[in-house]
């Protein structure tokens, strides 16, 4: 399902949480919702979940305004996780599924599959407080997706997971997209944004400052920086190239290599010159990481008066 957020404004007593924010979340994609702490992400997520409503503006799901019936089509994993501590894991998962409109028998059937996939079958009759934190996170994730929602909202889904389980989770998220889900991912973990997200938007102080496909954004933010690794017996001629080009030369990772960083539009001439003096090991254009883009965008916005 496609989500459109149109000119949404939300004001709390003393602050503007969202200021005229519009977003387009394409169908069957993973959409990163980024922004510093307190930017208004949680408010936006709560509006999508109909926990709270916008002051002005509207949210459209597949072109129609958000209705109470949409709730059953949404799965939400909040940043602050929580389960009933004294309730049994299985019982609780069934209850939460029932609240999303799944029948008891159907919920049990689906839960069995997920419990096996996440290797927590033996924990069905344990109370939540007996579980380790990672285990609780798994249960929480399962209860989020159990009703096979068309829209999934994950707020910091990877926190509290070890690398192995984080991978399991990533695979599951990608699988869910393949099955047709539209996924909204809010996270501060930028490497997972690069790995998973098709497109993102960046929110700062209640305003959207950036939106687009991850690949496009990174390309737009390119700084024409190129990295060349070369292996040469005689380093002198290469060092001399700094006179003609804007270069930075360091020792490479291997003993006989040099790492050359070049800022400029066309590396073609430089490359041919280098190849006269040594063997080219690698060449790549350095695209800025989402991390860099995040910091740069937010800081430049905050620097403005």
């Amino acid at each position: 399902m496609k989500i459109e957020v149109k000119n949404v404004t939300k004001r709390y007593a003393d602050q503007l949480a969202l200021n005229n924010v519009s977003l387009q979340v394409p169908e069957q994609s993973i959409y990163g919702l980024l922004g510093p702490n307190g930017a208004g992400k949680t408010t936006l997520i709560r509006i999508l979940n109909q926990i709270t409503g916008p002051d002005t503006g509207q949210v459209l799901i597949d072109g129609e305004p958000l209705r109470p019936q949409h709730i059953e089509r949404i799965g939400y994993l909040p940043e602050e996780r929580g389960l009933y501590k004294k309730m049994k894991v299985g019982e609780q998962a069934v209850y939460l599924a029932q609240l999303k409109g799944i029948s008891k028998s159907e919920a049990e059937k689906r839960l069995k599959v997920w419990f096996e996939k996440f290797q927590i079958t033996g924990w069905w009759n344990k109370t939540v407080e007996e579980l380790s934190k990672g285990m609780q996170q798994k249960v929480q994730f399962i209860t989020t997706v159990i009703h096979e929602p068309d829209i999934l909202i994950f707020d910091e889904p990877f926190s509290g997971f070890d690398p192995i389980n984080a991978n399991l989770l990533k695979e599951s998220i990608l699988e869910l997209r393949e099955k047709g889900a539209t996924i909204l991912l809010s996270t501060h973990n930028m490497s997972s944004v690069e790995e998973l997200c098709d497109s993102i938007s960046l929110i700062n102080k209640g305003e959207k400052i950036l939106e687009g496909k991850v690949a496009d954004i990174r390309r737009q933010h390119r700084t024409s920086t190129h990295e060349i690794t070369v292996s040469a017996d005689n380093r002198q001629p290469i060092m001399a190239l700094t006179d003609d080009f804007n270069l930075k030369i360091e020792n490479g990772e291997l003993a006989d290599t040099l790492k050359i960083t070049f800022v400029g539009d066309s590396p073609k001439e430089l490359l041919t010159r280098i190849m006269d003096f040594g063997t080219l090991v690698s060449y790549q254009e350095i695209l800025p990481s989402m991390n860099d883009i995040f910091i740069e965008e937010v800081q430049s916005k905050n620097a403005q008066p």
Binding site: I51, Y76, P78, Y95, L99
Partner: protein
């Protein structure tokens, strides 16, 4: 609506399955039972111990007065010195030695009991009574009064209180019974509102502090969750109440058959029983008559319906307030500031009930039984004495209206409060939430 059902079911089942609930369910009736069983047991067993009492009456005033009873055998040893008698007690021939020393001029007014064990109260009392009676008679004779005259002067007044109604009907009233019934019902309502209102607050607080609240409110409306919890807990309260009545009944009947006491109709149980325990071995016609007229003096239909109505409405009113409080506190110590304003009217109701029970038709009683926050308790005190239907109706309507208004307020506070963390709240701020 189906979702409210799910919530009610969960709230109910998790609570009913709790060990503390099961323990309370069984312990409650046992405690109630203990209150009336122990005195009966004591009364029965205290009388069963037999005592042989050696009487050394050196004053010779009490020649024939100490007659044997079922449990006390008196043996006169007037010729033996008290020291020898004490030895006999030590040897175990007698349980107790009663020594009345010789007096020169006056009628004796003191005596000594010697025993190896604690002398039972009833033995002491019996001896005191016998001596007192005899001495009184002797003193009367000494001042020239015939003891029979005194006997004739003693009068007991039987005062019947008849309450008349407009149609000219008359009904005898039994203030003590109504007093006790009213107080018991008021205490029950107070206790249940405090206990289960507290459970609602605790439940909301747990959901908030365990952070599951955000998951739940992304599935159901906060209002549904709040009402589901309030209703679920009310069913728990009703279950506990019904179980207590049933179990108390079972224990009562079981005990009665075991001990072999014939019981008056269950109406009088627990209230008038204690005074009558000694007399209930064989019930005479008069007692039956008495109990029947007590039963007729109270409109039990009104009492039962009134209790259910005021209990449920009172609980609902307070439970929604407790839910709102649970939603705005971040930690348990915080809750004091907000629970106080809620519990104070309840406590005022309970305290005024103690005065109102003496003047159930007074002005204070009328007003307190109309004000919705105190009416559940105060009205329950009044109902056994008989309250005009229109007053009950007005009180119930006011209570329902307040409940609806309070639910609206509580829902507003709850909706905002459950998702608010780490913020110190003032009443001013809460007031603002109402406008969201």
């Amino acid at each position: 609506m189906n979702k409210i059902g799910l919530i009610i079911r969960r709230e109910y089942l998790t609570r009913v399955k709790k060990r503390s609930f099961i323990i309370m369910t069984f312990l409650g009736p046992l405690l109630i039972a203990a209150v009336y069983i122990i005195p009966i047991l004591l009364a029965l067993h205290g009388n069963n111990d037999k005592h042989t009492i050696a009487v050394v009456d050196q004053s010779h005033w009490f020649e024939r007065q100490f007659t044997n009873t079922e449990t006390q055998t008196f043996i006169r040893l007037d010729d033996i010195s008290i020291d020898s008698t004490k030895k006999l007690v030590q040897m175990g021939m007698y349980d107790i030695a009663l020594y009345i020393p010789e007096t020169q001029l006056n009628i004796p007014s003191s005596a000594v009991l010697y025993s190896m064990k604690q002398v039972p109260m009833n033995v002491e009392d019996h001896i005191k009574d016998v001596m007192k009676n005899e001495i009184q008679v002797q003193k009367l004779l000494a001042s020239g009064v015939d003891p029979d005259i005194l006997e004739n002067i003693k009068t007991s007044i039987s005062l019947s209180v008849i309450r008349m109604d407009e149609e000219g009907g008359e009904k005898e009233t039994f203030t003590e019974v109504q007093f006790i019934l009213g107080m018991v019902l008021a205490v029950l309502i107070y206790m249940f509102i405090m206990m289960f209102g507290g459970q609602v607050m605790q439940g909301v607080f747990e959901e908030k502090s365990s952070r599951i609240i955000e998951v739940i409110v992304s599935s159901v409306k906060p209002f549904q969750l709040m009402m589901g919890k309030v209703i679920g807990v009310s069913l728990v309260a009703l279950t506990q109440f019904v179980m207590w009545i049933l179990l108390t009944g079972v224990i009562y009947v079981g005990f009665s058959t075991a001990v072999g006491i014939s019981q008056p109709s269950p109406v009088g149980s627990g209230t008038v029983m204690t005074e009558q325990i000694d007399a209930t071995n064989i019930m005479d016609n008069e007692t039956v008559q008495h109990i029947v007229s007590i039963a007729q003096s109270i409109n039990f239909g009104q009492v039962i319906i009134g209790f259910i109505l005021f209990f449920l409405l009172g609980y609902l009113l307070y439970a929604t307030m407790f839910a709102a409080i649970g939603s705005i506190v971040d930690n348990n110590t915080d809750s004091q500031q907000f629970t106080l304003p809620v519990t104070v009217p309840l406590i005022i109701g309970m305290l005024s009930a103690i005065y109102i029970v003496n003047a159930p038709d007074g002005n204070l009683a009328l007003w307190m039984s109309m004000i919705p926050f105190t009416s559940p308790i105060v009205m329950m005190v009044r109902i056994p004495f008989g309250v005009p239907i229109w007053q009950i109706a007005v009180s119930v309507v006011l209570l329902i209206a307040t409940f609806i208004a309070m639910t609206w307020v509580a829902a507003k506070i709850y909706r905002t409060g459950i998702l608010m963390y780490g913020k110190k709240l003032s009443y001013k701020e809460l007031f603002k939430w109402l406008k969201y």
